[in-house]
């Protein structure tokens, strides 16, 4: 039984941790399953913070630098906590030639932050992605998982505002 060491790295023992450990066990602690395990960890926790990466490195008996190196190499892995709501604008070729840049810059201006960032209140994150593959409906934006095809900056802004408004009402 490998040294789990979750307490040393400050991870809470909860259901997510159990699920993560199970996934690692399923891969028989194989070092080459690192990517699969990072996928699972991100699915469970939403992002990969330092303690999580350290923990994984201990379980797989890999140097923390190796795990960190892999996690930062691939675009998909997020090392910072994303906002409560997420807008992703597709920046694939088809979307770019059909005006995706305008959508992104409009959102940036409106909420006063840059792509890849989260608003200070932690409510909204803006990401750009390389092609979601719905090129025939370009440009595409995804607001909290819902795809808007043939999107305009106004339409996307409106959708974001609606979602933020709804969240506010709910919070009350």
């Amino acid at each position: 039984m490998p040294d789990t060491g979750f307490q040393q790295v400050g991870l809470k023992v909860d259901r997510r941790l159990t699920l993560l450990e199970n996934a690692i066990k399923k891969h028989q602690y194989k070092k080459d399953a690192l990517l699969e395990i990072l996928h699972t960890a991100q699915e469970l926790y939403g992002y990969l913070d330092r303690s999580l990466l350290t923990y994984i490195s201990k379980l797989l008996r890999l140097p923390p630098s190796h795990v960190y190196g892999v996690a930062t190499f691939y675009n998909l892995f997020k090392l910072k906590k994303p906002g409560a709501h997420v807008v992703t604008v597709c920046m694939g070729t088809a979307c770019y030639v059909k005006g995706a840049e305008e959508i992104v810059s409009t959102i940036e201006k409106e909420f006063n932050f840059k792509r890849g960032e989260t608003t200070e209140d932690g409510r909204l994150s803006l990401f750009v992605t390389r092609c979601i593959g719905a090129c025939a409906m370009a440009p595409n934006a995804i607001v909290d998982g819902e795809t808007i095809g043939k999107a305009t900056p106004e339409e996307v802004l409106k959708k974001i505002r609606t979602i933020l408004e709804a969240a506010k009402v709910e919070a009350r």
Partner: protein, 551 residues
């Protein structure tokens, strides 16, 4: 499964299909899903029940029909009636008129026949016509029959010979002869051997491989199993982008189904051949599609390429002989074995046989997924299949081959699509993206866009790619902001040639293509930016516009 069982099952399934007078195929691929395809599917199921035609009309959830611009699309057989933009409120009328009364609803049909006229569907033979999640659907149309033939009636060398004679070339872009590659792996010493299917379609604007996996996953699996038999491999991996959740899900289920039917696993068709496939998810790295980088990624490391030789055929996964082919290459294999290499070699042109799938996008009237015989001209694709640029706009350029493909101008529209002709013109086949640009696109800005992409995606291992592309990007960015001189153009050309020559892998070697081709064919636009400080397309020189993410 025993050989007889496959034959019986195929017969039973074919009869079952025939017992329905109509079949409604609802496209539920990534192109149609965001626009309510699943709701349309269940609406059709409800409607046939409600109108009492359940017994004679089968409603199927299928993959891509190819016409992504009319999502959600629905295909009614027999007669291949294609309905466009089907929303739930139209469903009942379609069932009532078409199925109950036998009168297709003309106003709702997609009237564009030119879109299909020049296409030839070999790889996409089943796309949109079978349920990818029902392995029986694939068996009904002759699925796994080629694997049976290979295992019971052909030697491994015989399979390789057949593939070699067909002239099939790697569909991942480089165009290496598939038969030859297989032979290298078959002759390599070392055990075990591996087969990898490359579905790391990281190119923006390209979705041909994804659509294939979503529509006909078993064609890929069967092709891989045949390849494994030919080269002597016992384990396979499909490396798929995690950005393709539907393709991942479909492949996962297809592998399970193939396993439970005995097409994967131990002693397939009661022979000594055993083979199994595992799915591996990428995590968003364009360079991972490079064949040595994909190895590193499957081994759980950073996807960084290494110099070749040794080639993966001799030293691949964990140092063992490994065959890496694109999924489209694999999907060609079962048909070649069933119909023969001679038949396959008769399609396309000399030295470039068969077909190629492309995702056709950008400023074109009929974007979608197409499959065309090799040798078709760019003009036929853009204007006859694609229907040309939107009304009132003027065609400017067409890009073939993803972010590292070149831009070709109007006077090259009669260029035939084959590996050689494209390379000569400065473009590449790539994994299958055709993007059309009209007069609203600025070529300098577009070259900058793709260079930025490659800067982002460069793994950083070799200097020409890491530092050279960044330098190139900075100069191009300057052009779009009114900086730079005419001498810089020579500098750019020099830099591009250097990056091409000195980079370690395909990413760096092809990254300068967009810049080089735009310089060659659209030099006047560069001059307009530098000398007149004007952007002919009106895209650059805007306040804060074109602010880049690269710093």
């Amino acid at each position: 499964m025993k050989p007889d069982e496959l034959r019986n099952l195929a017969q039973r399934e074919a009869e079952l299909r025939k017992s329905y007078r109509y079949r409604i195929n609802v496209c539920c691929s990534s192109g149609c899903m965001p626009f309510g395809a699943l709701k349309v599917l269940s609406a059709f199921k409800d409607a046939v029940k409600e109108l009492g035609v359940e017994e004679e009309c089968y409603v199927a959830r299928t993959g891509c029909i190819g016409t992504c611009s009319i999502a959600p699309a629905v295909l009614v057989e027999p007669g291949d009636y294609l309905y466009q933009n089907v929303t739930t409120d139209k469903v009942k009328e379609i069932v009532k008129e078409h199925i109950v009364n036998g009168r297709p609803v003309k106003e709702m049909l997609y009237g564009n026949e030119a879109y299909f006229k020049k296409q030839l569907r070999i790889v996409l033979r089943n796309a949109g016509k079978i349920d990818p999640l029902r392995i029986e659907d694939y068996i009904a149309v002759g699925g796994y029959y080629a694997l049976l033939k290979a295992l019971t009636r052909m030697t491994p060398e015989g399979v390789i010979e057949e593939v070699a004679l067909s002239g099939l070339k790697g569909r991942g872009g480089a165009g290496f002869l598939t038969g030859l590659k297989w032979r290298y792996v078959a002759r390599a010493t070392g055990s075990p051997k591996y087969v990898i299917a490359n579905l790391d379609e990281g190119d923006p604007g390209v979705f041909a491989n994804r659509t294939l996996a979503e529509a006909d996953p078993h064609a890929i699996i069967e092709g891989m199993a045949i390849a494994a038999y030919a080269v002597g491999a016992s384990k396979g991996y499909i490396y798929v982008r995690s950005e393709y959740p539907l393709a991942v899900e479909t492949l996962k289920k297809a592998i399970e189904a193939a396993r439970s039917m005995g097409f994967l696993g131990e002693k397939i068709f009661e022979t000594v051949f055993s083979f199994d496939i595992e799915l591996r998810l990428g995590a968003g790295a364009f360079v991972a599609g490079e064949e040595t980088a994909i190895l590193a990624s499957i081994e759980g490391r950073r996807a960084m390429p290494r110099p070749r030789p040794p080639y993966p055929a001799h030293s691949g996964l964990w140092g063992k002989p490994t065959l890496i082919n694109n999924v489209e290459t694999f999907a060609n294999v079962p048909v070649i074995l069933l119909k023969g290499s001679e038949w396959f070699a008769s399609i396309g042109v000399k030295n470039c046989t068969g077909t190629k799938c492309f995702s056709l996008t950008g400023k074109v009237n009929n974007p979608g997924l197409i499959e065309v015989p090799m040798g078709i001209t760019l003009g036929e694709v853009v204007f006859e299949i694609g229907g040309g640029v939107p009304p009132g706009r003027k065609f400017k350029a067409v890009q073939v081959g993803g972010p590292s493909g070149g831009f070709l101008p109007e006077n090259l529209l009669n260029l035939p699509i084959d590996y050689e002709s494209l390379n000569k013109a400065g473009a590449i086949m790539g994994s299958g993206g055709i993007v059309v640009l009209d007069d609203t696109s600025c070529m300098v800005d577009t070259a900058k866009f793709f260079t930025e992409f490659c800067v982002d995606e460069s793994c950083g291992k070799c200097v020409p790619c890491r530092a050279g592309l960044y330098k190139l990007y900075k100069i191009l960015d300057g052009f779009t902001r009114g900086k730079g001189s005419l001498e810089d153009l020579n500098k750019v050309e020099e830099l591009c040639e250097f990056i091409k020559e000195a980079s370690l892998c395909g990413l760096g070697q092809t990254a300068p293509n967009p810049t080089l081709t735009t310089l060659k064919y659209f030099r006047d636009e560069y001059i307009a930016h530098i000398v007149e400080k004007k952007c002919p397309a009106g895209k650059c020189f805007k306040n804060g516009g074109g602010e880049s993410g690269v710093e």
